[in-house]
């Protein structure tokens, strides 16, 4: 397998032989498209807008990332399920706000072959309606609650805005949506906290920097009571919603007659929450961590964590190849995901290729290394090199992974700090803010009229609000000092 794979990848579009020539900081959109192409994450040549094919390397990274989320959800007693993809109009339309919010952007099936169907079928844009129409039969009494379910499914939205692989698509390939059911409003609020904890842990694992904000009513999920959004920023300066953690209250329960029997024998509506992530997170990982050489993947989700590159000198190949294979065997046995690149390329071409693919650690082995029983270990993030005795490779690689994580985290935080801007007045905003800068915060008293006024005044949409760090702030709209929070504005994906 090691013999064949590099060959195949070499010839594919010859992308590995072309240099990047795109500055990520100056031209992020082109950098992103090129980085995805060169690393063979997804193939964007499908003729339908916002629908892409996932190539083996990209799909493996996606699976590894999804596996982490599954472990987090399983640990908190969420059960995996699957609900049908097609939703009859009669079920889709039961919750009126949901219908209003989603019907316009959903794909609709009207025929089977040439025959018209008797009822239109919606392709799920998200699964609230189909799930809640059935779960009704799964919940009888208080003893059935809480019930926490999740599924990983493809969902479709007819996006009219520009699409971008992973970040904004029409077919979301892996939407991992959790839906929970509770006896009381208080239990649902607690679940929102748990959802936020789970997602915080997940984004921390991926070293994605974020803010958690509560959204304003007009930005809240269709049919929800309130929701918290995890927000990050893409290097083009646009904000991006990483995930939403949504308290649905009893709105859907009322629409779908979701009741349970209490201990006293009464029948009450269940309280619900939902939250989801998707491949978008992988797009954000690539967008934030990558550099001008291409991707930098966190070791946790890198399909190949270590690439071994032999440095051959004519006539002295055998001992080098032998030692590379030994190291390959040893590291693989230890559980690392390792590739030995024994293709016919030059070492320089190999470095370029595997750097572009974001492989965290490269091991170089030449004749002198063989003699000394050593190998050269190179970090993808910093390029730092170290000569390491083969016996100490494991320790050295584990340490390198930790340090890579630390660097990615620190760089991410530094990057994010520069893109979350804090202003005191609309005047300041108008003087200093440019669209490419990220998200900007203004002090806000909590009055919706004030929020609308600010939004209109600075002409940037609201994102959500969070407690102000610090005291003595005045609402940038009305000047009040009581209950001031920080309200964020920005263009978003």
């Amino acid at each position: 397998m090691a013999d064949k794979k590099p060959k195949r990848e070499e010839s594919k579009g010859d992308s590995s032989k072309v240099t990047f020539n795109i500055d990520k900081a100056k031209n992020f959109p082109d950098w992103y498209d090129r980085a995805i192409e060169v690393a063979q994450m997804v193939d964007t040549r499908y003729p339908l807008k916002g629908m892409n094919a996932w190539m083996p390397y990209g799909f493996k990274a996606l699976k590894l990332m999804m596996r982490q989320m599954e472990m987090l959800l399983d640990a908190k007693d969420h059960h995996e399920v699957y609900f049908p993809m097609l939703v009859p109009e009669s079920i889709f339309g039961k919750e009126s706000e949901f219908l209003k919010g989603f019907s316009g952007e959903s794909f609709v099936v009207t025929h089977a072959g040439k025959n018209p169907l008797t009822e239109k079928l919606y392709i799920r844009p998200t699964s609230e309606t189909v799930m809640y129409s059935m779960v009704r039969e799964w919940i009888r009494s208080f003893a059935d609650l809480p019930l926490k379910l999740y599924q990983t499914v493809n969902v479709f939205r007819y996006e009219t805005r520009m699409t971008r692989p992973m970040l904004r698509v029409r077919e979301v390939v892996k939407f991992k949506e959790a839906h929970t059911f509770h006896a009381t409003s208080k239990d649902a609020d607690s679940q929102i906290k748990e959802g936020i904890e789970i997602y915080s842990e997940f984004f921390d694992m991926l070293m994605i920097p974020y803010l958690v904000v509560k959204t304003l009513p007009w930005d809240t999920f269709a049919g929800a009571e309130y929701n918290f959004d995890f927000m990050s920023v893409i290097p083009d300066g646009k904000g991006i919603e990483l995930a939403s953690v949504i308290n649905l209250g009893t709105k859907f329960a009322k629409a779908y007659d979701l009741k349970y029997e209490t201990e006293k024998g009464d029948h009450e509506y269940v309280h619900q929450t939902c939250y989801g992530i998707s491949e978008r997170e992988l797009g954000v990982v690539m967008a934030i961590h990558g550099d001008n050489k291409g991707l930098i993947l966190p070791p946790l989700i890198a399909p190949i964590q270590i690439v071994i590159v032999p440095i051959y000198f004519a006539g002295r190949e055998d001992p080098v190849r032998k030692m590379c294979n030994e190291v390959l065997g040893k590291l693989t046995k230890l559980g690392f995901r390792v590739e030995f690149d024994d293709s016919g390329k030059t070492p320089g071409e190999k470095y370029y290729k595997w750097e572009a693919r974001g492989v965290p650690v490269r091991i170089e082995i030449g004749p002198r290394d063989v003699e000394a029983g050593k190998a050269v270990s190179v970090r993808r993030d910093t390029g730092a090199k170290a000569s390491v005795p083969v016996a100490e490779l494991e320790k050295s690689i584990r340490l390198a992974f930790e340090e890579i994580n630390k660097t990615l985290k620190e760089n991410g935080q530094r990057y994010f700090s520069a893109r979350v801007l804090h202003f005191a007045t609309t005047k300041e905003v108008k003087e200093k803010y440019t669209e490419r800068l990220g998200m900007l915060g203004l002090p806000w008293c909590g009055d919706q009229g004030c929020a609308k006024k600010l939004e209109k005044d600075i002409d940037i949409p609201t994102i959500g609000f969070k407690p102000y760090e610090g005291k003595g702030q005045k609402c940038a709209s009305c000047g009040k000092t009581a209950g001031v929070t920080e309200l964020f504005f920005g263009r978003t994906y």
Copy 2:
């Protein structure tokens, strides 16, 4: 978790309190529906025909089964990918036989919201067309071949026949379809052999008995050169196709212009194969192995492999509960999937419930067992009981799993032998065959006219043929003795 889950499951539909009262041998369809319901595999109450929701227990079994197939495919250098679900008409229709075979039974998207789309989109019934239209860009030269891909996706077919959960559905939730690309016809033939080996190993793991037959031209996959079908029989006497291993030759390559550059620099069409399995296999596992108490799941895919049932005596609960928890901890740590049923039900109710769900081994622990440092181990398949010292539980359980596998395999083979009938003449068939009996073989010379004549004469559809076991057979149609194979007939799902 152990405290909550049983509670929830108890109240759900109260199905665990109802006895089966259905004889599997006499009334298989009702037995199957009831077994699925009681075991909470899928919920069939969704209002769209052939589309079901997967409940946590069923979905876990499905995942475990799929995981086995992934390991088999990965070991043979197949790479996982994902291709878009929606297919524009222009791509869908490129291979004319495929279009003819699938367009009539495909769901068609015509609108986004209220707006008509400019081109009709087909929901994939299988992914040949979308995949081959893109893979064209992935294959440049001989060095890219062989290329072996697979994906696990939902596919849709507008079945007009009666649907049955897992066995025949309109939404196939987990279609695991492999597609391979080769330089030569010979390589494609070899790949067909590898596909057959992989599937044989898979069905052997699940103890599903089968025949591998080559299909007649008029039963061959739309657009294929030839295909082999793995055939089994459901207890209602109907044959069922477990999987198809298909040689596509160069038909699709020609339609999608899939060429590669040879070592000499020529451009040749690639040779292709494809093969797939789905949740249908889980349906067959349940149908064949189950008994009048409900499911019997092979330990390999049982979501719960061992259930611990405490036998409480008033006032002596604590030491029993303590030992149950110890055994739970110990077995879980060893990697078994274990449930401790500490719910308020009687032991009898618990036995019934977990037997219906097909849990391979039950451990009972009462006060006297605690005193003796023993536990009672009960096999689901035979009901055989053994008193085992706790220190030897692991060994005993591993042995029980092996024996369960052996029994299921032997029972399966015995069951299958009685449903694959070998006749010599059409006269015999007419005298002895009844529709509920399975698949019947007749000697056949290989002439298509003879096959058609036999099919018409006995009025049962052909399934496929395989080498005759034994010699000296005469074609049941023309009486020739040269090149005689066994041709099978039967009603199928």
